[in-house]
Symmetry: none
Subunit: 215 residues, 4 copies
DNA sequence: GATGAATGAGTGTTCATTCAT
DNA sequence: AATGAATGAACACTCATTCAT
């Protein structure tokens, strides 16, 4: 601990310390939730003094908001809108669903923090700056693909973009959020490769099957 | 308080006190999570002394396990397997999806406690007796409908029951679990009747579209 | 510590514990002031666990208010209005001044807590119940003696009871409140018997000289 | 902030910064007391970095001692011994009492810091240099007027200068020190002009009445 | 001289839990 | 069964002080 602090202090690298604290906080919040997280553990995880956490983030709530913003940043960064257009509407949408599922799998902190934030009725979200806009990448991608799919006559005409966004997210989210209780219920690891593959296949099919024009 | 409690419940019905405590605990856990819940608040919610909560449930963890079991009971009771057969495989499955969605809406405690329990990697579930079996009603219903659908040639042949169970649950779960953050993102109440209706329509369609034989 | 706690707990003597805490609090507040007092020290002084202090008084402020009320109780109890009438207006008033001085000397907690409370602009006093009335014994005694003195033609006619109350109190208060800085300035113990006697003599004379009718 | 401070004070005038810190400290100590004062607040009040406060005053105690010395300076500066002689002993003494009262009213920091210093049994006063002498102006003025008054046969013969000093100070001090609790008790602003005038009249009368030869 | 990041020992407060009654 | 006083180990947060720059 001492060594690293010396280096940080010596280098006057306040931003590095802040980043280390935030990373440790995301870890702690993911494992313990908001109420269960201990500021002491965050400080130890970042190898800094407890007081420094408060110096930089003001309070546990301030740290929570910063962690939330970080997680919403992941959400935004996880959407690769660029590569989708080339796939065409049908395969693009399938890919979107799979990417979302994979994002949740790769970043349990997204699921954990969003669950906790909903427990608090999204109270902290209003304090955070531009959270509403953070949703848009995925939503915009869905809207774009929908428009194109309609134009090409491939999609059914009555699709609600918001509802589709939720359904598509939900298909991936639940699998990750309930990983442990589901594994207990089905007596096996939900994250075993073959099971994941089977679910991915269904997930893509389901979205595509719904969208495809029944004509 | 003492007098009033005596009058309300009398000395005989310890079971009523226990039930009141459990109900208060489910409420408190739903609102605050496991770590955030306070035993004092549970006692006040049940209008009993704090010590009595410990007398009946031993510890906070004991109370949590009891609340979990209660919630799994709701899950089981919510599945009306009886009425499904009459609807046929296609409409039966649609109804199953809608019922599951409505169950989550009617009982936020299910969503909240399951989220929290997953935070703890389902550690308490192993202590609780007979939780694995509790899943079966819905799962069994799905399996039954799948079998019939296949027999009648209405369903695609490669459907994984477990995966379908998860997908069907996820479509309803996410909408409820993320009610507040989604409402913040879409700047409107997700639980407004028209929005619910639109989502229900999509949800049913999605399941059915996937299952239906592409021939 | 353990022994006494056992006894208290065993005797289920909650009131005794409360009283012990209050006494320790008055001591601690007198020595350290509000901000300087430590709840831990209060608990140790009362030989109870720190948590019990909060159990009974809620917070440091709650304990402060209780201590304030206690001190105002001393103020009220210190006025022996009964014996005054027999002395007649002149000697009664002199005795009042002396008694007030002696009260401040016997109870440094009165002076210390009132100083501190004035630092906070009497913010806590409004939370406390009937503080305004607590002043009355002395004030009433002054008014009574004034009336009698006027009736007998012994006192000048233009005496303001409130102002007299303040002057009379101030003559005793300052001597006690500034005991230490005055002792430093005059390089000697202000509370040495002969110095006290000399000041008492002057104090009485001053009040009486002012009141006496100049005719 | 950094830029602005540079512009305001420049790099040269360290003395200005020191003075600003001292002024802010006196304000902070007056409002919060010694234990309640925060070094951070002092720094902000002086618009300097926290470290600079320590650079100039070493510690909180060092700052306190400096504030004490400042306040004793006010005390000394407040006594206008020069103008008194012309008034003669009687009116000079009345004026002395009034001036002292007005000094306390104009400088609440005197009262506040002296109260606090007495809480600490004048421990810091010994560290401060030359405090004992600081009392002298008022005391010397009293002694001078007493001598003259005796010489002219106007004053009673047995007056103790030290006691008179204390009484005279106490009459003004208490009114200011207990401004808030008294206002709460008497349900009105003690510092309203008419109330002040009435008290000033009594205060002067009281001192003069006591001193005047009863012959 | 001046800054502010960083520390660490506290400080008020909370809370699950125990226990005598 | 039921109460609530009592405990003790945390807990979030504070703050005087240090120090590299």
């Amino acid at each position: 601990m001492t060594q690293r602090q010396r280096r940080i202090r010596g280098t006057r690298d306040a931003e590095a310390a802040k980043a280390a604290i935030l990373a440790a906080a995301v870890r702690e919040f993911t494992e313990k939730g908001l109420a269960g997280a201990r500021m002491e553990a965050v400080a130890q995880g970042a190898e800094v003094a407890k007081g420094l956490v408060f110096h930089h983030f003001g309070s546990k709530e301030g740290l929570w908001v910063a962690a939330l913003e970080h997680v919403y940043g992941l959400l935004r960064a996880g959407q690769d809108a660029a590569g989708l257009a080339a796939l065409g509407p049908v395969e693009g949408m399938r890919r979107l669903a799979l990417d979302t599922f994979r994002l949740f799998r790769a970043h349990p902190e997204i699921v954990a923090l969003m669950n906790e934030e909903n427990l608090h009725r999204a109270r902290h979200l209003r304090d955070a700056e531009g959270i509403p806009r953070l949703y848009n990448p995925l939503f915009d991608a869905i809207e774009g693909l929908l428009r194109e799919g309609h134009a090409q006559g491939l999609f059914r005409p009555d699709v609600d973009a918001t509802a589709l966004y939720i359904a598509l997210s939900g298909l991936g989210y639940f699998y990750c959020a309930n990983r442990w209780t589901l594994s207990a219920a089905f007596a096996g690891d939900l994250f075993a490769p073959d099971r994941l593959a089977r679910y991915e296949a269904m997930l893509g099919e389901m979205v595509v099957a719904y969208l495809r024009h029944p004509g």
